[in-house]
């Protein structure tokens, strides 16, 4: 249990990036009618940004 919790907490920024930031970015792009690069679907762009940002935060321990 403790082992699983430790890993979940370690990976939490990545989970947050993919699970929450990605749909937020997609919804914001759609709400603001912003074009996506390479005609990517907004959610795909959300996964790229949210995933990379979450990975950065997971590795470095900071979002900024």
């Amino acid at each position: 249990m403790q082992f699983a919790l430790t890993w979940v907490m370690k990976l939490l920024p990545l989970i947050f990036g993919l699970g929450f930031l990605a749909p937020v970015i997609a919804a914001a792009m759609q709400a603001l009618a912003l074009p996506t690069p390479f005609d990517l679907p907004p959610l795909s762009l959300g996964f790229v940004i949210g995933g990379l940002w979450g990975l950065f935060a997971t590795i470095t321990g900071r979002w900024l």
Binding site: L5, V8, M9, L12, P13, I15, F16, G19, F20, P23, V24, A26, A27, A28, A31, A57, T58, T60, G61, R62, W63, L64
Partner: protein
Amino acid sequence: MSSAAKAIVPADLSQLNQGQLRKLELQIARKYSGKVPWGIVAWAFGNLLVWLSLWPLVIFEAIPLWLGFVLATISLSLVYLPTHDAQHYIIGRPGTKWHWLNELMGHATSWMIVLPFELLRVTHLDHHRHTNDPDLDVDITSHADGPWQAIWSAIKHRQPNAKRGDDYLASAARAGRPDLILLTIVYKLGHIGILIALAWSGYALEAFLLWWLPTQLASIYLIFFLSWAPHSPGMGTGRYRDTKNWRSKVGNILSMGMQYHIVHHLHPYIPLMDTPAAYRELRPILKAQGCRMEM
């Protein structure tokens, strides 16, 4: 100064020794204890209802999302102070008539800012015991040389690996409450789980602008006014040296009553809303004790 203070406090305090000063200080402070501060009880539950009502109001488009965001940020900024009175058992001490209300108020509202009430209490009481101690004060990370550094520091210490989080968990462990560490993790995972569920149900922007972002902004605001401004920069340790009376550029309400934080540290059983009146009565004694005062 009020007429009551005139009746109690002698004109020349220089003739009094430390014991007499302390006795006089206590005599005044006790006048403000023992009453239930119903105003802050109404504040706590009213604010909870306001924040909860924002969700249907925004989702059913009764108000625009941007207005919901502004109101949510104000609302979540107002969560902490009622829990703070409850942390000190000001609404009801254990064994008294209103203790259940004290605990209900704390537990029913602290979750809005994603922190367990008991963790807030244990760590805050630790802050009172070790104010400004570089090793033991849980709020030491809010210390900074100026306001902009304080804001940046508050942002830095909300990052995943920040020292502030570690200090809070270490305080819970020192208090013999490792259960609170697990409870804090449950709150955090529950919060993120709810945010993710909302986002994938079509309410991503609502979750972001009514809860996640307002919580971040409220936390920075709270740390700035409740922790940095009254304790930093240049404050030391010790009963009359670890905090101060100060004049806020944005006034007492927008700085959440923290101009009179010195009264709270000296007499934490005095309700928040009574600290200005208590300060005015205690002022000559605090001056005699060499406290830092700007008003």
